[in-house]
Symmetry: C2
Subunit: 350 residues, 2 copies
C-alpha cells in the first residue's frame, strides 16, 4: 500500500515533469515538497513507486518520469478539482465577446481560441451532431447514369446529393443494398455510421455487388454533408510544439488523421454518460490507435438544451497540465453553450 507521502511525491513528480519536461530527481523533489524529508527518504519512496509501476527511469541513473499508469492513477485519484486561472477566464470571455454571424463561426472559433490558449490542438464538434442519428436512407435511380442519395436524420434534416455512376447498377442490386443499409445502420448516431462504413459495411455489401466501393463513396459523401461540415480543428500546426521532430512521416500521418473527419469522428465518440459528464482524459496507450501513442486526448460534452449537444476536445502530449486544462475545458463547455443559446435566442427574435 502506498503512503500519503508517496502519493504526494507522485503528484510532485507529475507536476515538475510537466513544467520542465525533464526527469525529476530526489534533490529537486526535496526542495519542492511541502514537508521536509531528506533526499534519501525520497529515494526510498521513489523506489517503491517504481516497483508498483507508477514512475519510471529513462536510464539507470536518471531521475524519474511518470509512467502511463502513473498518469492514470493521478487522473483518477489524485488530481485536484481544477483551479480556474482568472487570466484564462478573462481571455476566453473576451474572445467570445465578439459578434458572430453563423453558428459554425462560433464553433470553429472555439477551436481556435482553445488551441491558442493551450498551444495544443483543439477539436470542436457543432451542437446536435454528436447524438444525431440516421433515421432513413434512400437511393433513387434517376436513369441516365445518375442516382440521388437521400439521408434523413433524427434532427429532421434531409440531405441529398446527385451522383453520376460509371456502370448502371441493376435495380435488384440497389434494392438489396438499400435494405441492408437500412437494417444495419438506421438508428445509429451519424458518427458511428461513418465509422461502420469503413469497417463492417464493405464486407456485408460485398455479397451483393462486385465492387461496393463506388457505392460506399456515394454514401459517405452525403453523410459527410450531414455531419462533417460541423467538425472543426484549431491549431493543427501546434502539433509541432508538442511532437518529436525526428519522425516526419509519423507527424504527417497524424496530421492526416486529424484532418480526416471520419477518423476524427471515431475519436470523439460521444461520451457515454451524456450531457453532463465530466471531462474525459484518454491517454495514448488507451486509445488503440498507434499514432496517438505518445499523446493524450481530452474530451467533454457541452449541452445546448433542445438544440442538442456537441463535443470539445483537446489533443496534446501525455504530459499536459491536466488541472488547468480541465478547468479550461469546463469553462469552454459553459461559455460555448451560453454563447450558442444566446445565438439561438436571437434567431428566434426575428
Amino acid at each position: 500500500m502506498l503512503t500519503e507521502r508517496q502519493l504526494m511525491i507522485l503528484k510532485a513528480i507529475i507536476r515538475l515533469f510537466t513544467e520542465s519536461g525533464q526527469p525529476v530527481g530526489s534533490k529537486k523533489l526535496m526542495a519542492e515538497l511541502p514537508v521536509h524529508v531528506s533526499s534519501a527518504t525520497i529515494r526510498n519512496d521513489m523506489a517503491d513507486l517504481e516497483s508498483v509501476g507508477l514512475i519510471e527511469k529513462t536510464h539507470s541513473s536518471s531521475g524519474r518520469v511518470p509512467s502511463m499508469q502513473g498518469y492514470r492513477y493521478y487522473l483518477d485519484h489524485l488530481m485536484q478539482p481544477a483551479t480556474l486561472n482568472p487570466v484564462d477566464v478573462a481571455t476566453v470571455q473576451q474572445s467570445f465577446g465578439q459578434h458572430y454571424h453563423k453558428i459554425d463561426e462560433i464553433v470553429s472559433q472555439s477551436a481556435n481560441i482553445l488551441s491558442n490558449l493551450t498551444s495544443y490542438t483543439a477539436i470542436t464538434l457543432g451542437p446536435g451532431v454528436a447524438e444525431v442519428r440516421l433515421t432513413g436512407f434512400r437511393l433513387v435511380p434517376l436513369g441516365n447514369h445518375q442516382v440521388m442519395a437521400i439521408i434523413v436524420t433524427s434532427a429532421g434534416t434531409v440531405d441529398n446529393q446527385v451522383f453520376t455512376i460509371p456502370q448502371a447498377i441493376s435495380g435488384d442490386e440497389l434494392e438489396k443494398a438499400i435494405r441492408l443499409i437500412n437494417d444495419q445502420l438506421v438508428g445509429l448516431p451519424l458518427t458511428v455510421v461513418s465509422q461502420k462504413l469503413k469497417t463492417d459495411v464493405p464486407v456485408l455489401l460485398a455479397h451483393y455487388m462486385a465492387s461496393p466501393t463506388g457505392f460506399l463513396d456515394i454514401f459517405d459523401d452525403v453523410l459527410k454533408k450531414a455531419s462533417q461540415e460541423r467538425l472543426y480543428v484549431g491549431g493543427q500546426m501546434n502539433l509541432l510544439n508538442f511532437s518529436e521532430f525526428d519522425d516526419v512521416t509519423q507527424l504527417k500521418s497524424l496530421y492526416n488523421m486529424i484532418n480526416q473527419s471520419d477518423d476524427l469522428a471515431k475519436l470523439l465518440n460521444l461520451s457515454p454518460e451524456g450531457a453532463n459528464s465530466k471531462v474525459q482524459v484518454r491517454l495514448g496507450a488507451e486509445m488503440a490507435n498507434d499514432l496517438l501513442k505518445h499523446y493524450s486526448l481530452m474530451t467533454v460534452n457541452y449541452d445546448v438544451g433542445e438544440h442538442g449537444q456537441g463535443v470539445i476536445a483537446l489533443l496534446g502530449p501525455t504530459s499536459m497540465p491536466y488541472s488547468r486544462m480541465i478547468g479550461l475545458l469546463d469553462l469552454f463547455r459553459e461559455e460555448l453553450a451560453k454563447k450558442l443559446i444566446d445565438y439561438y435566442a436571437n434567431l428566434d427574435d426575428d
Copy 2:
C-alpha cells in the same frame, strides 16, 4: 562576358546542388562535365561566375551554391525545355482515370496528386475563378439589425448572405460606403478585390465610418463564398520535407498563409499573359513576402474554353528540379483541362 563552358558549369552546379543538396566543388564538377578540363580550370571559371554573382560560397573554402541570380539566369536562358518522364505521365493519367462526381473533386484531387508526385505543396484554383470580375455589389438593410450583402460577378453568379450587425448603421453611411466600394472595386478580378480589401479599402472607408472592420468582414465573407471555395491546397505537410526545422514559428506562419485564401489568392495572381502563358517561376526574393524568402513558387494557367481558366501552382524550395517540375505542370495543365472539358461535356449530355 561568360563563355560557353562557364554556362555549362553553372548548369551543372545547379543540377548537382538540386540533386544532392550539397555545395558543389571543382572535383565533382570535373567528373560530371561532358568535356574534360582540369579542376584548376573549373576553379578559375567558378571564380568568374562568382564575381558576376551567379554562384556563391557558403564559407571561404566550401564548394559553390547557385545564387538567386544564378537561378534566375538559369530559368531565363539556360534551362532545357522539359523532358517528360514517362513514369510521371502514366501516374498522372492513371490518377485522373477515376470517375469524379463534382468539379471541385477533380480540382482538389489535382492538388493532391501533384503534391504526392513532387513532395512539394500544390495549389489549384478552380476554372473560371481566376478571371472572374466583380460586376456589382449591393448592401440592403433589412431592418432588425440585419443586412443582406449581394455580389454579382462577371460569370453571372449572384451570391448573397444575410448578416446580423451589432450597431445599426445609418442609411447615409451605408450609401457612401457602397458608392465607394462600387467606384473602387467593380471591374476588378475577385482575387484582386480580395487583396485590396486588406490594404487600400480600410483606409478609404475610415473616412466614412468609425469602425469599418465589421463592414469589411461582411464583404469579405460573401466574397469568399464566391471565390475561396474553389481554392485547394494539397500536401501542406510536405512543407516539412523542404523546410528548415529550426524555426517552428516561421513554419507555422507559412502554413497559416497557405491556408488563408486571401493571402493565397494574392500569390496566385493570374499571370498577365492569359490562357496559354508558359509556366512562371517566382523565386523567394522576388516575391516581397518575407515568409517565402527561401522558397520558390511555380504557377501556370489552364484553360477550359468557355468555362474559363484556372491556376495550378507548386510551392517548393528554391532548389527544385525545375525542368521536371515544368514538365509536370505542363502535363497537369493539359490533363486537368482535358478532364474538366470531359466533365462539362458529360453534364451537357443529360
